[in-house]
């Protein structure tokens, strides 16, 4: 949250970004216990984004499997990012919007493009407009040009690029930051062609992204290297921080990450050095201070009951009315004759007719 001050430099910076609200779409696409690290990756970005001010109503969190309450987890309701269980990124206040089998390519693309069925609740929708900055974070297993969803389907880089183009055409974002942490992640942003997109990936084409450290008590690798160092970087960022994108590009150099992180800024209009981290990871809240008094008119009217309230005999129903159940008549449904009965009946009539009156009448029919 930024406090509105009268300092001109602050004012200038406040209005330079051009966005009025922030959204985040965080997706973990892997299932099964040994992919614990992908859930931990997504939850650490969720934690940072919440800490920097984006509320739950503006975050669409998709986790393909449940690690916290998995029966294999020796510490239920926790997901750790550091070994020796230093940091629980799951916490006590978490709202997952899409979980388990709901994390599919179709649902992900529908969330991005906004083409959801009308009965979808608000918490599952990305209600962004043309002044929204959106952060999209994907993690899972991937390859050259695709990302695997739940071991059964995949999304290609062309589909992703087309989805972003749809978003641009419908003016669903002002600026978009795309971060991906998978093997050969840079292949996923190669095909982007819409404006105002900035992308970061944990490895180049032909390289694998590696996991960071296992925890012997839990038995699996806890985080991926890139997101681990990204989390460490984001823990230093606070809502009024002036860190910019160039610092983000320097996160996890090859000496730490073994793979070479990549980024793409040619589609982005502003200079990355002038883009603040909090433009995407934090949340803009504009506060207007006024010194005038505002009168609130009372709109409560007295409740006028129309006549006598009919108090019907208020009773409870018998929970197991045995006598009533035994004598219950079955529901009368419309009776249809069995299939083929009508056809058989007509065949029988025709046969009997021609049996009695002879074959010569057949020529009148055919």
């Amino acid at each position: 949250m930024r406090i509105f001050t009268f300092c001109t430099i602050e004012t200038g910076q406040f209005f330079s970004s051009g966005h009025t609200n922030n959204w985040a779409v965080l997706v973990c696409t892997s299932r099964f216990w040994f992919n614990y690290r992908h859930v931990a990756n997504t939850l650490s970005v969720y934690r940072s984004v919440k800490r920097l001010g984006i509320p739950d109503s503006h975050i669409v969190l998709m986790l393909a499997d449940d690690m916290a309450c998995n029966y294999r987890n020796p510490k239920p309701a926790t997901v750790f990012s550091h070994k020796n269980m230093e940091l629980n990124v799951y916490g006590d206040d978490v709202e997952v919007d899409y979980r388990g089998y709901e994390v599919t390519v179709e649902n992900f693309l529908r969330v991005l493009t906004g083409r959801l069925p009308p009965s979808t609740p608000r918490s599952k929708r990305l209600l962004s407009d043309d002044r929204s900055n959106i952060l999209i974070y994907l993690t899972g297993h991937g390859g050259n040009g695709f990302l695997k969803f739940q071991d059964s389907e995949e999304i290609s880089n062309m589909e992703l690029a087309d989805a972003f183009e749809q978003m641009w055409q419908k003016r669903r974002y002002n600026e978009l930051l795309f971060i991906i942490d998978t093997c050969q992640g840079a292949s996923m942003y190669e095909r982007f062609y819409s404006p105002n997109l900035m992308a970061l990936a944990s490895s180049q084409v032909g390289e694998d992204s590696l996991s960071h450290q296992p925890d012997l008590a839990i038995g699996v690798h806890l985080m991926d290297k890139y997101t681990f160092y990204l989390l460490e970087f984001l823990e230093e960022v606070h809502p009024a921080s002036q860190a910019n994108m160039n610092d983000l590009f320097k996160v996890c150099p090859q000496s730490q990450c073994v793979s070479t992180p990549g980024h793409r800024t040619d589609l982005f209009q502003r200079n990355p050095g002038s883009v603040l981290i909090t433009d995407f990871f934090g949340s803009v809240r504009k506060v207007e201070i006024t010194k005038d008094t505002i009168n609130l008119t009372s709109s409560l009217k007295p409740l006028i009951q129309s006549g006598d309230m009919q108090i019907e005999s208020l009773t409870y129903v018998d929970q197991l009315p045995v006598a009533e159940i035994i004598h219950q008549k079955p529901k009368q449904k419309d009776w249809h004759p069995p299939d083929g009965f009508i056809l058989g009946l007509w065949t029988l009539i025709l046969l009997v007719f021609f049996q009695t009156y002879g074959i010569k009448h057949l020529k009148h029919i055919f």
């Binding site: 449940d66 309450c69 069925p117 009965s119 071991d151 409740l303 006028i304 009951q305 129903v317 045995v322």
Partner: protein, 573 residues
């Protein structure tokens, strides 16, 4: 309920004609019941009840001022014309034989059953939208509830609230046995409480402790009730049942405290609550020989719950002296002796799949009646998904190795990919017997896209529901009064000699024949290779001509040819 006069009893004004802007729009009560179990485990049950005298379904009057009642649920009730709503999320299975009967039973996974108002014209449409809205409120995948797993019971699940009409066309029941319960379901549930998780009993709900238990169930029950039976009020009950295991909670000592169970102690009651109490069941400990309870309390209460008269030590959190000098209340329960065998519960049910192979199988449901001399009827409801095709002609019900014909059977066969099987039977259980219901089934082949991403895990079949009126040892109270504690006033009692109980069986996990999902890829690769090699070579042979192409001659030969051309002599090849 014998109890020294309660303090701070807020009475709600009955809704009369011409009442304006009600001064007391409702009341909120919270209580925690702790019951030590015979195996050393402990069962804690939280209940939060919000009462509100208003009518969501009244024509022309939109409710817009919410105080204690959560707005998200109020809007859901009025938009979908819901008369009663019961939703529960459970992790683990309730072990009746070791733990007795729970106060409010629930099956593993998620269960939702709703009675709609009789003014609704399209019940299925309302049901579909309601499940989607609830999936957003509770962060659960309730949107997977559709017509393939919804049933319309014909005799079970009668409304627990007020009402005369019981046309079962307005009832819908669905269960998702696969649904996982974790902190993301607890977080929105806690936010529905008036005090949230900031004050009162809800501060004890820390997810790290609640989910590290043998059984965890959270539920929301909304129904209309009558207050002194002159006016209608809406009741919202939020219940959380949890059973902590002695050995996994560590330290090995046979003692329990609020701090050990929840890693928190109580510091104050919820300021919005009209009553906030903690009850500890001391019926098995009349002289204090089984366990020792501290701090001691002079308040004792008795209640008839589940057909038995139980005695409770009561701690009233609205009194300042309960918190003592340290302003913190921590209950300590130390086991002294070894408890004997638990009294066997009168009704118990089990279910399992028999058979071998991936084609056929048999579902066995076993119901035990442990009453020594009384027989009583039970209503068994089974909802089996369509891909387990039941052969109803093989249905047998046997008690004491003799055929037991049910007095009422309602069977609705499944329609592939449209509706599940529904089987409801009213069976009379002979005293001290075991009744077995068996039915054979065949597994269907699903289409390729209908398999889940992990099909080798298996497919779940929801729990069976056994509803019964069990003869009670103690006379039950038939009139509801305000003074009754919440845990004994959930189910309306019509007659004194029996109490209503619902028992859920285990869900089943069956394997369906699973195809090899890499086969389409394999087939495409193989076919394309064969076509490319076979047809491609043939095509080349037919349509291409071959020419001999000479490589360019070396430099010396080219010079020699140049000289020969000048001389007019034939060239070198």
């Amino acid at each position: 309920f014998r109890f020294p006069s309660p303090i701070g009893h807020i009475s709600t004004c009955p809704s009369l004609i011409g009442q304006c802007c009600k001064t007391h729009p409702g009341s909120f009560q919270e209580e925690l019941v702790i019951r030590p179990l015979h195996s050393g485990d402990i069962y804690a049950s939280f209940q939060f009840r919000t009462l509100w005298d208003t009518d969501f379904l009244q024509e022309g009057q939109k409710v817009s001022h919410y105080r204690l009642f959560p707005k998200s649920l109020g809007q859901v009730l009025s938009k979908f014309s819901v008369r009663e709503l019961h939703i529960s999320f459970t992790q683990g299975f309730w072990r009746t034989m070791q733990w007795g009967q729970p106060f409010i039973p629930s099956p593993p996974g998620a269960e939702l059953w709703v009675w709609f108002h009789d003014t609704v014209s399209d019940v299925d449409g309302n049901w579909k939208e309601l499940t989607n809205v609830l999936s957003g409120i509770f962060c659960a995948s309730l949107n997977f509830i559709d017509l393939t797993n919804t049933v319309q019971p014909s005799a079970s699940f009668k409304p627990l609230g007020l009402g005369n009409a019981t046309d079962h066309r307005f009832l819908r029941y669905a269960t998702l046995p696969r649904e996982i319960v974790c902190t993301e379901n607890l977080t929105p549930w806690k936010k529905l409480l008036p005090c949230g998780s900031k004050a009162g009993l809800a501060v004890l709900m820390k997810s790290e402790k609640l989910f590290h238990s043998s059984f965890h169930s959270q539920a929301v029950h909304i129904r209309p009730i009558c207050q002194q039976c002159s006016s209608k009020a809406w009741e919202l009950r939020q219940t959380l049942n949890v059973v902590f295991d002695l050995h996994t909670s560590g330290q090995g000592k046979k003692e329990w405290s609020l701090f050990k169970m929840f890693s928190r102690t109580l510091t104050e009651a919820c300021p919005l609550a009209s009553s906030s109490k903690v009850y500890v069941d001391i019926t098995d400990n009349p002289e204090g020989e089984l366990f020792e309870l501290s701090p001691a309390t002079p308040l004792l209460g008795q209640a008839v719950v589940l057909g038995d008269r139980r005695t409770y030590s009561v701690y009233d959190l609205s009194r300042a002296e309960t918190f003592g000098q340290l302003r913190s209340f921590n209950l300590l329960l130390r086991w002294k002796g070894d408890s004997g065998d638990m009294l066997r519960p009168l009704l118990h049910a089990e279910r399992y799949v028999a058979g071998f192979g991936l084609q056929t199988g048999e579902i066995h449901t076993v119901i035990y009646n442990n009453h020594p001399y009384r027989a009583f009827p039970v209503l068994l409801m089974d909802s089996v998904p369509w891909y387990l095709q039941l052969y109803i002609h093989t249905l047998t019900v046997t008690s004491k190795s003799r055929d037991n014909k049910p007095s009422y059977i309602h069977y609705q066969p499944a329609k592939d990919r449209h509706r599940p099987h529904l089987l409801e039977m009213l069976i009379q259980l002979p005293p001290h017997s075991m009744t077995e219901v068996t039915v054979q089934f065949e597994r269907a082949l699903l289409k390729w896209t209908e398999y889940t991403p992990d099909p080798n895990h298996g497919f779940y079949v929801g729990s069976s529901v056994v509803s019964a009126l069990v003869p009670s040892m103690v006379a039950m109270r038939t009139n509801f009064t305000q003074d009754q504690p919440l845990f004994s006033s959930f189910v309306p009692v019509k007659e004194e000699s029996s109490y209503f109980v619902r028992v859920y069986t285990e869900p089943l996990l069956v394997n369906l024949p699973t195809p090899d999902f890499s086969m389409p890829y394999n087939v495409i690769c193989l076919t394309c290779t064969v076509v490319a090699v076979g047809y491609g070579s043939f095509y080349n042979l037919l349509t291409r001509t071959f020419q001999v192409d000479e490589p360019s001659p070396p430099l010396s030969k080219r010079l020699a040819n140049l000289i020969r051309r000048m001389r007019g002599v034939p060239l070198l090849t």
